[in-house]
Amino acid sequence: MAELLTGCRGGGPAKAPHAHAANLPVRAARGNLLVFGCGTAISAALQRLLLDPDPGIQRLTELNFGEVFATLATMAVLFGDRHVRLALTRADRAVLVACALTWFLPEPHAIYAGMTLAAAWLLARRSQDRVLADIGQIWLALSLCELWSKLVFKLFYHAIEPVEVALMAWAGRFAYPGLQASGVYLSARPDWSIVMLEGCSAFHNLSLAALIWLCVLKIAGRSASREALGALAVSAVLVVAINIARILAMLPSAEAYRDWHDGPGSVTVALVSVAASLLPIVLHVERTPCPPA
């Protein structure tokens, strides 16, 4: 992807041969960060693929996209700038190895607790190093998407869900004039209704959209400008609209529910949501020239 985007990272002159020896510690430090980032994603993916009896196709699609983007962004940050002088301290290495112990946890979500701690360490103690701060931001966004967003949503469920259901009911009445909304129940027929649980909310999709937005910015070497935030807002509106359309598509019948909740429809929605998260920020990056160095 780094080649597809108009990148503003690195691009300086190649180093002289005598610089090779001085580059060795930089390469080893990059290896530490890359193995930690990839190892966390691999551990979580293996846990879902091998040990979870039924993670759901849509959840698998969404989660794997988040991990793929975060891994690409980590690699772009680590290897995109030939001038970077990356050096890890003894404490950095100890934190990475200690946080890697979460790879053995038996829950795919909990594996990201270690990445959260590593990200917090990099952002709190190494924020003066641009590369480490970028890596910390990517890891924190991935941890939020994979681990913390659903927990936060549970805390604020009673505040968020009525607003979301009211929005769905308002939009749904254009397609189903007789749509009834009662509490967290939506019904377009007397004999069929759906209940809005935490998985139905667009909240998780928004955290994935934010992660993809951040990853594209890091891959392209751009900062979060006002225009970039506008692209994120466009993605957020699109993601919420897609989720509302998906929920409304479940209303006609039990067959429609199965298709859009667990079947091919749910995968289509996941892919379209990722595209909606990706396109606005990619268009912004392609249309905006690199800032002067």
Partner: protein, 169 residues
């Protein structure tokens, strides 16, 4: 090559080797767990513990209305997944914002605004203990009882649980 550079290389290589070993070991553990047939869950893992030796078959873990002597309205008893990422099928707009919610889990009674968080922490600690072999089997599929006590009702969670144990069938 300067000595400081050599020290950096060795330290980073040692960190890299440690991370690679941890990754290889964790992957092999997962692949091995996948390759071995999963042992059947113990009988009590498929039951809901209501306390005082009373258990409920999982198939019977559906919403129940519990009438206590002290309240004009019933206490709602739901069976929810205690995992932080489990689905709480009882989630719905409360009938009254002053309703009290209590979770009963493994002998613990959790009340107050942080009860859901406390339930998640207890579950995670129990799972971690099970993984480390400190407290028996890892009970991934167990359920907690969630009581919604109507506003104005003074019934305690223990009182509602006592009634629930009697009507479990």
């Amino acid at each position: 090559m300067p000595a400081r550079v050599t020290r950096l290389i060795n330290a980073d290589r040692a960190g890299l080797a440690a991370l690679c070993l941890l990754l290889a070991f964790s992957v092999s553990v997962r692949v091995q767990a996948h390759g071995n047939p999963v042992p059947p869950e113990p009988a009590d893992a498929a039951m809901v513990d209501l306390g005082e030796g009373v258990v409920l078959p999982r198939v019977g873990a559906v919403r129940r209305m519990v009438w206590t002597g002290s309240c004009p309205l019933p206490v709602t008893a739901d069976f929810v997944e205690p995992s932080p990422h489990g689905t709480d099928t009882s989630l719905a707009a409360p009938r009254d914002p002053n309703d009290r919610v209590a979770y009963i889990y493994r002998g613990w009674t959790l009340e107050g605004p942080r009860a859901a968080m406390q339930l998640s922490v207890l579950y995670v600690l129990r799972r971690a203990g099970a993984v480390l072999g400190l407290n028996g089997v890892a009970t991934r599929h167990e359920l907690a009882v969630k009581l919604v006590v109507p506003a104005g009702c003074d019934a305690s969670p223990e009182e509602a649980m006592a009634v629930l144990r009697r009507i479990r069938g």
